[in-house]
Assembly symmetry: C2
Homo-oligomer: 536 residues x 2
């Protein structure tokens, strides 16, 4: 069963690799693990302190009001969510959860909510890390979590046009299985793939690890249906159009504020003939940066570029286990010019065999010109095999006494290194305020011709009290968000805005942009049925 | 000097190639050329019948009110525009033209217009073929044409990020010259390249011939500044973002209804190391269609795919001149299996040499598997050399007694052939209503994994009277537009909406979509300063 207070299935238990604890202790200090809150106790507390208001005259046959469903419907996977759940210090939860089984039930629930002044928060796989799912603390209205995950059917596959239409609540593995049976793939693999939903990817403008070939949500989202409180927006899956504003952009990034996405048509591909992930090392950060920028600007047809900085590279090697093999690898790399300060680059190659071979030849030539050394597919295969298992490590780290958070942005080339330093510095400074050390490291998860994403991870010790834990997380979130804004980056390249990033949205949208967004929200949802506090 | 009543510079005189007239006569009948109206007479008529209202208390130092400037500011390049100008049957023209020389002058003019209830129609290179520039006949307000073409500076070039910022009025050749001097290209080459402006490309979602590599306006438009009647929208050139709705989409396709685009940051590329255009033939339409679809769905890194149907192929060969060489070529092609019904495919390859070589190898293998025959670069070189000269042929055709119009759409694969037939049939039926024949032919100008554009050309005889000429054009426009809508295509893949396509926009946007667009227009422009009738 899915964990209620951590990542993934509770039959899967990740373990820290040998040496990991020693390495992390050396970086941030010896941790003090603590005991997690108990689910039954938490549910009892919810029933006692916040009884559902969707009962009696406010009941609806599709709305469940059990405490566990309400708890699960109100939290995502942010560190703030974890802290609340693990410590059993629950904030406001929704009053009920509905699991509609089709577009007409969604329509009925939206109409019912409007008539009863109930706030609706649409929910997919509940993998948000930016606070999308929790009711606003300052909002007295009853809140319904509209969980779409029972809407999971492949309703149409146009093989000529490679267009597949799904109900929006389908989760990643289910979606891929339904496509694979017909010989297709969407190719969208964010780290949250195993639990994230298609509709969630669209409304948060999600980016997958191989978006370089398959596209971000913006590129593969071809059309669909958005039920707004007052109407229905039907978007035909045109290959391209110059007919005025592209209304798909009212769905992408809308985060449940304009309507509920019920049906999604996506651009799919035939299952690839060939796929490889190469692990390469470059002598230093600057060389790595120059190599990935050149590859992006040449438009070498790769499916993935992922460049770790020196600290992330070191951390990856330390946490890989197999210390003996790693030592041998590092001796070889040092001999080839990649010693201390070296950086690890993963390249993905996906597609027809001849294209993959040509792209690999081109990519290796470019990387080698920057002093890079290929280690072949061994590390890449390992990375690919563990790409969704890695998230489970967060559970093991928590149990061992560590907290982990990640923050990300994107910025044009020229500002990359300053942004990396600003994020890591801000993370360390935030924890230093508590007398704690923070192990910060960074990779570029997505590379474009004009710039890249910047994705930083922060590991630090758990706190003795929930107040202290929460304060550390919030100081980190605030400090790093401010650093992102100060450096001119976007407040999110791939996680979205939710409530946690909403205060920083104005920095990139401007007053005129926010006012326009408000006008559209007011137009689509004048009653505020969807006024969750996400985005705005 | 630029022609006032046709395409391009009046020192450039195109001539019909030998045999062209005979071929076209055989298709649509012997034409009867007529005499064009005289510019001086037309201007005198404007001064007499529609004196400018932007004089006296309504004068502004930046606004010119001469009749010729007003005439030139009120017409684009649609066939309807040509008919009006060539016959001297002028409709309503604007009351004045301003040529602002910077953002602050645009701001001042917008404020002045709002204060004086003057309608503003932004204008770039005046190459619209969908009626963007003419004042609405039913609108009594004075109209100002806001011509941005004196705003043409490259104001910033970030070489690391390959981001160039221009003032929005820069025309294609000027933009490319300024970039080429620094080693860069935007690579945006629509057929109207020589006179179209950067800002116009953005607000009409323009597509260039090599958009497969360089991207449509949606892909290369990174950010900029839109002056709305009440404010200013500043869009930072982020490489990607998941931070809510992408506000660039309020500029793309806005056609001057939300504001005036003054500054544009674009994603540029290094000048390509290698570029080739290959001419290939396939035995028939179905084979051609299958080949381009496969190339798009494999994501073979080409810069252009352009597939003519059999009638366009025949027409291209007939109008190429060089009958002897063409006959020899056709004998060779017939021997290789491409006889009657053969179709011509141009492939563009652009980029680093090694990438071009690999892509060419892959593309040729795919095309040959569908029975295709490559004729190397000879035809492609000819096409590339004449890519912007071809438009001048419209002048020669008019002089010879023919009218030409083009209509275009995009549709998912599966519907392509039905769409081609529907467009050509609708064109022929429209002219048959006048007892006239119509020579109709089609190519796919842009190919995507999920579908393609469909671009049809219609050649028919000029009429003796302006009323009859206008009626023929309008019957064609109406009939073909209805066919597009009936087949489920977009009302425009690359020309935009303007006033001519506005009645058909609802078919793809839906009532909820149009209402949302109206809400945004109302938000940005409550007074209707920009209520030109374009889009809505």
């Amino acid at each position: 069963m899915r964990r209620w207070n951590g990542w993934g299935d509770d039959t899967i238990q990740a373990h820290l690799p040998p040496g990991a604890s020693e390495f992390l202790s050396s970086q941030v200090g010896v941790p003090v693990p603590g005991k997690d809150a108990d689910l039954a106790a938490v549910c009892a507390q919810i029933e006692r302190e916040q009884p559902s208001r969707l009962t009696g005259a406010w009941a609806h046959p599709l709305v469940e009001t059990g405490a566990e469903a309400r708890l699960r419907g109100s939290y995502g996977q942010s560190l703030g969510d974890w802290i609340a759940l693990r410590h059993g210090r629950i904030g406001r939860v929704c009053d009920g959860v509905a699991f509609p089984e089709g577009r007409s039930q969604v329509r009925a629930l939206l109409d019912w909510a409007a008539a009863h002044q109930v706030r609706v928060i649409p929910c997919g796989g509940a993998t948000s890390v930016v606070g999308h799912l929790s009711p606003r603390a300052d909002d007295p209205s009853p809140v319904l979590s509209l969980n779409l995950t029972r809407m999971r059917a492949l309703t149409d596959l146009n093989e000529a046009a490679q267009l597949a239409t799904f109900e929006a609540g389908v989760l990643g593995p289910d979606l891929e299985a339904q496509l694979r049976a017909r010989g297709y793939t969407l190719g969208h693999f964010p780290q949250s793939f195993e639990y994230a939903s298609l509709g969630g990817w669209v409304v948060t403008r999600s980016s997958g690890q191989q978006s370089l070939r398959y596209g971000r949500a913006e590129q593969w989202f071809a059309g669909g249906t958005l039920l707004t409180p007052g109407g229905q927006l039907d978007l035909p899956p045109l290959p391209a159009s110059a007919a005025g504003p592209d209304l798909r952009e009212w769905v992408l990034g809308s985060e449940g504020r304009f309507g509920v996405l019920t049906d999604v048509t996506v651009r799919v591909s035939r299952l690839p003939e060939d796929e490889r992930f190469l692990g390469l090392f470059l002598p230093n950060w600057e060389a790595g940066l120059a190599a990935v920028r050149e590859l992006a600007q040449r438009k070498t047809p790769l499916s993935m570029m992922r460049l770790a900085n020196a600290v992330e590279t070191l951390t990856t090697l330390k946490l890989a286990g197999h210390a003996g093999q790693i030592a041998w690898l590092e001796r070889y790399l040092a001999w080839r010019g990649c010693g201390e300060g070296k950086v690890l680059l993963f390249l993905g190659l996906t597609g027809p065999h001849d294209q993959v071979v040509a792209a690999q030849r081109e990519a290796l030539r470019v990387v080698k010109a920057h002093g890079g050394v290929s280690t072949g597919q061994m590390l890449g295969k390992k990375w690919a095999a563990k790409r969704f298992a890695g998230v489970y490590l967060r559970n093991a780290l928590w149990d061992a006494g560590y907290m982990v958070d990640t923050m990300e942005t994107a910025i044009p080339w020229g500002g990359t290194t300053a942004m990396v330093n600003a994020l890591e510095d801000a993370g360390r400074a935030a924890l230093a305020g508590f007398g704690e050390r923070c192990h910060a490291y960074t990779h570029l998860s997505h590379v474009y011709s004009s710039g890249s994403s910047v994705y930083s991870t922060f590991v630090f010790r758990r706190a003795a009290t929930v107040e202290e834990a929460h304060a550390r997380w919030w100081a980190l979130k605030t400090g790093v968000s401010r650093a992102i804004v100060a450096q001119g980056g976007t407040i999110s390249h791939q996680h979205g805005v939710g409530k946690d990033h909403a205060p920083y949205l104005g920095a990139e949208k401007g007053a005129a942009g926010l006012a326009g967004m408000d006008a559209l929200i007011q137009h689509f949802d004048p009653q505020g049925v969807l006024a969750s506090g996400n985005l705005r």
